[in-house]
Subunit: 403 residues, 2 copies
């Protein structure tokens, strides 16, 4: 579904979209740091934003833009989060919109802005201005790779994918770039994720789809339990596919919804797998819960446990730490009813450790992708949380990432 | 207040108490691993226990004993937690009581049991039996140091202290040994802590005092956010000081309360400072909150943030991570009203970074003990949370601590 060719196309895979990423000198490393994504026609826009009360300036500005229901462009930078920057920060974020709008011949309030990087530092607006101007000049159907690289920070690679689906006899395309590696945890996107589609869809339905999908995809990731000040997921839908506009929750909506969900799921997994310092990708699947909320809480309790995460880093099948995290999750559970598996192998069942084939379990623990399966035996609800292990490298990255 | 001499006396400092610690072969290392604390007369007992629903067998057994209001002895082991061990585990914990009661000539239901170590493994009861017998033979006024060392696991040292206070014209003594290094976080004591006193006090008042003090001492520690299956704090008060029995909340009770609180505060700080792999001791003082609960939640959000903890490990004054954790704590806060200080130095005030003397701040960050002071500017309530940094050593300890 997500081919290599599509990966290169990314956010410029849908018709009518172009993208670019340039070096503006905002990152100390000198790497790409300013991205622009542009639609050649007005697009319906939907977004979800961090719930952190210390929301960064671009969050506050972009929420207003998304509130209008329409947008043409996204301007984003890495290297400086423009968070905790007061009134000056707000003016700088608005100025980003103005500069881009001027270059793109659109209105200020059609430009979404996003920033990621160090908190508490003002944007270097001279560099930003020349960066945005250079990026607009470079906008192309081939620009998604550079745009993706311009928004990453401690990520080891840019996350992107693209796909298409037939809706109402027309091919509708989706593209996405995302970043996120530290300060990753539930209760919002906890990263930057920009999705483009050439679908024609009612803006309210677009927001409904994104909000619902966000709850079971991006909000199910946890790297370190920290919710960032700058997270956002934004979808632009420009209608260039020329499908009959989706205006109700019929068959076309369902296809659109399913495809958007598959894109968001794919990106969520990639973000968790590329968590800071990660050497393992862990899927915590909780079922037999009384509700989705219960299942998610148990999953997050396990996924956020430093003891669980370090055990998997050490490839140690320490199920005691897993059941311990289940027990303090705050969700009513019974040790007698609970079963824990690593991969397909039961390690804890009905209040005691299970007998297992040590060699088979060793193979499970040695793999890069590991499923922790928890059956609470209480009900019919389930949830899946994605996370990674906790390694020396995480400490190195975050102990040495100086302000 | 807490002298070196007293440290050696520990739980055998109060009159009528003796202690011992022996090698029973339960720890793989061959170190001391079975402890007995004994009162030569019946003592009022109070306890607080883990809220983890996967409570270990000794927790379940000891809760019943504490429920009777009286006890004579505490038997504890390290090296095996007797958690997730089913019916067999319960029988083993009860057997520990029986063996000790037989040796001590007291009743089975006068013996508190506690275990710490690996989850999911059955106690080696033959070793346990000879260990308890040997420990009882060695009981002495000098035995607290060995008892303290017999209950530690990944702790780098045994935590102990002792003190006295005049109550109603009589000298009343307190002694304590505690362990706790990993699986440490709020919502219960999250460790083993045994407190002895020769005070004469009504059992219900003793429990009231312990429960209240626990909320602002042991429950304010966080090392890694993990709540153990085995935590307990137990106080034995045997009345050997011959003070007029404390039966109401008068002046004597207040003195008793204050002294018990100072002992619990001291131990809480030491446990946090000796968190697994800790190189820094962090005090998060939150004030200006609308309630204690709010203040504690903010403090715990900061104390549990891996990004904050790694920043302090790296001696990086990354206040952005602190204010970020305040913002997602779930407590209503306003960036405009909030002030964050490291030591005495304001680093964030009223929604932006503060100007500071970089050299002075460097000194604060280089110290072993660092205070993170957060003024929410909302009300008059406060809370203090104690934690430590997150180091390579934490990952090493927990990635390599194999089951």
């Amino acid at each position: 579904m997500f081919s290599e060719q599509h990966k290169l196309a990314g956010v410029a895979h849908p018709l009518g979209f172009t993208a670019a990423g340039v070096r503006a000198g905002i990152k100390k490393s000198g790497n790409l740091d300013v991205a622009v994504i542009y639609s050649d026609r007005p697009a319906a826009v939907a977004g979800v934003f961090t719930k952190n009360q210390v929301a960064a300036a671009p969050i506050r500005v972009s929420k207003v833009i998304v509130g209008t229901g329409n947008a043409r462009a996204i301007v984003a930078n890495a290297g400086c989060a423009n968070a905790c920057t007061g009134e000056q920060g707000l003016r700088d974020a608005e100025k980003m919109c103005e500069i881009a709008a001027h270059e793109l011949n659109c209105h200020d309030n059609e430009v979404i802005v996003a920033s990621t990087g160090v908190i508490g530092v003002h944007l270097p607006m001279d560099k930003m201005e020349s960066g945005i101007k250079a990026a607009v000049k470079e906008l192309s159907r081939d620009g998604s790779v550079n745009a993706g690289n311009a928004i990453i920070t401690t990520d080891t690679y840019s996350k992107t994918c693209a796909t298409e689906v037939e809706i109402g006899g027309k091919e509708v395309r989706f593209g996405v770039i995302a970043k996120g590696s530290g300060m990753i945890r539930p209760d919002m996107a906890t990263m930057l994720c920009f999705i483009t589609t050439d679908a024609s869809i009612d803006q309210k339905l677009l927001q409904t789809a994104l909000s619902e999908i966000n709850e079971v995809t991006f909000n199910m990731i946890s790297v370190d339990g920290d919710m960032s000040t700058n997270d956002m997921v934004v979808v632009l839908a420009n209608g260039a596919a020329d499908n009959k506009k989706i205006v109700d929750k019929g068959e076309d909506y369902q296809k659109f919804y399913d495809t958007l969900k598959s894109v968001c799921t794919e990106l969520s997994k990639r973000i968790a797998a590329d968590g800071e310092g990660a050497s393992k990708f862990l899927t915590v699947h909780v079922h037999g819960a009384e509700s989705f909320v219960d299942a998610k809480r148990v999953g997050m309790s396990v996924a956020n446990s430093p003891l669980v995460k370090t055990a998997f880093f050490g490839e140690d099948p320490n199920w005691g730490r897993v059941i311990c995290a289940v027990g303090y999750s705050g969700v009513k559970m019974s040790p007698e009813k609970t079963i824990v598996k690593f991969g397909d192998i039961p390690v804890y069942a009905h209040s005691v450790g299970a007998e297992y084939d040590a060699d088979a379990l060793k193979k499970v623990m040695a793999a890069h992708d590991i499923v922790i399966d928890i059956d609470l035996g209480e009900g019919d609800s389930e949830a899946t949380v994605w996370t990674c292990d906790l390694s020396y490298e995480y400490v190195k990255i975050n102990g040495e990432y100086h302000t």
